[in-house]
Amino acid sequence: MKHFDEAALDPAARAQQTLLTAFLAAFGAILAIPQSASAQTAFTLPAPPFDVPMLPSPSGNWTVMVGIGGEYTPDFVGSKNGKLMPIPIFSIRRAGSVDQFRGPRDSASIALFDVGNFRAGPAFKYVGSRRSDKYAELTGLGDVKAAYELGGFVEYFPVDWLRLRSELRQGMGGNTGTVADVSADVIVPLIQRLTISAGPRFTWKSTKATAPYFGVDAVQSVASGLPMYDAKGGAHSVGFGGQISYRINPQWEVHAYVEYEKLLGDAADSPLVKLRGSSNQTTIGLGASYSFDFRIR
């Protein structure tokens, strides 16, 4: 630890003061601090009537973010057609806590382990059901129930502008296989309010996570007219994604993203994809959100 002590005017102390001066000068700073108003909160709620043992008190300032987005995404994985879906945006966090970088493909997750540049914890992803009566390409292939994928994530920032993330999830319901996602994102703040990010993605899926969506058994073959196909697991997709976000003011933020995915292996070779779909999967999304603070006494 360096020492900063104006009273001690020896050479060492002067050198240490120089360090601080250099640090400040590096970003051209002076302590002309704008006198800001006191806490600006939308409303104040009364103190909760009780505390839940073991959990921190909810009293204090909170930030709520609400918004709406739209996403143009393939009808189903492997489809060559797309659909437009509304995406609700909602989050609540302690006021002042940083809204950390998040990729559009990230599962819902909680960082139970956090040392600043390394975070880990449980992750969850909901995979919607695939109804064969909704799309002509799926006729005869039967329904695939919704899947709930539970697992964990690790995230590492070697530097503030580079995120490496990996997720490993086990499916339940519609697929009972294992899924691994790996991604990297270079995050470049152009100015404080405007950030762009982009990076490669890779997904691996086990046979049990691949077969329900890409396999064609004998009955399905007769009903759909597609040849029988035994889909095995392995490298599922490789891709690239990017997003841009702009904070108009402390309340309003807009963002847009694009994710491209190229199906690989047995998923790409499935007759559903080869004959009726496409191995090129693109998702485009945009949204706007509004944040406000409230206070619990």
Binding site: K2, S38, A39, P56, S57, G96, S97, F101, F157, P189
Partner: protein, 246 residues
């Protein structure tokens, strides 16, 4: 069968509600019963210098000793003035370094499950013992950017491609520790002073701009940090229902 199930559920809800109400009563009652307090402050020994955003690989933060600024003495003085209207504030002695050395665990659930580490320290390190409560003010932590934590007193720089931004921070949390049982009656981190900036921390902070030069730089820095503390302390103690009129 269904009726019995409903009865059990109702009984469970009633137990939880009664238990929770009792817990709240206990906290409120315990705060009201406090007459004498001692104040411990351990945030002002060092200042961190942190960079985030577009920075080079391996750019670690630094810290400087600022013990000569006497921030802890100032905090004790300010808190004594604020709390003096309601409590009899008594001077206490303690090992400041021991309080400053305690850190939260990186594993979040551990912090919820383990006993508060400051309880033992108040029991073993603070003299005199026997006051109704001890007000303990220590460093709090916040995220800066994506991969950096900042805590306590500090100066931070956020670098972007086209501009750099600077801010100072005074992140701290306040505990009220029972002087007999050493239970934590109340704990609160100081909240941000405003929400006008786009770069925000989870506690008192403020932007800095223009050019920094000259021999009086450290004095201006001290004054700015002091201003953050002076403005946030009454709000925090008010939020904790320790002083009136906030």
């Amino acid at each position: 069968m269904r009726r019995i199930a409903f009865l059990w559920v109702g009984l469970a809800i009633a137990c939880i509600a009664l238990g929770a109400a009792a817990a709240f009563e206990t906290r409120a009652t315990r705060l009201q019963a406090i007459k004498t307090v001692g104040i411990v402050s351990a945030i002002g020994e060092e200042m961190s210098l942190t960079q985030a955003g577009l920075i080079a690989l391996g750019n670690a933060g630094q810290s400087l000793s600022i013990s000569a600024w006497g921030l802890d003495e100032l905090i004790v003085q300010q808190a004594t003035k604020l709390l003096g209207g309601r409590f009899r504030v008594q001077a206490v002695s303690y090992r400041r370094a021991a309080f400053a050395a305690i850190r939260d665990s990186a594993v979040a659930p551990v912090n919820l499950l383990r006993s508060d580490p400051f309880k033992e320290l108040v029991r073993s390190d603070v003299a005199p013992q026997g006051l109704d409560a001890y007000i303990v003010i220590t460093r709090a932590r916040s995220k800066l950017g994506n991969g950096r934590n900042v805590e306590g007193i500090g100066l931070a720089q956020y670098r972007t491609l086209l501009a750099d931004y600077g801010l100072i921070h005074a992140l701290y949390e306040v505990r009220v520790i029972d002087g007999k049982s050493f239970d934590v009656i109340e704990k609160r981190a100081a909240a941000p002073l405003d929400n006008t900036g786009t770069m925000r921390l989870a506690g008192p902070s403020g932007p800095i701009d223009a050019t920094f030069e000259g021999p009086a730089a450290s004095e201006r820095l001290r004054a700015a940090i002091t201003d953050l503390i002076t403005r946030s302390l009454p709000v925090t103690l008010g939020d904790m229902h320790l002083i009136d009129g906030q």
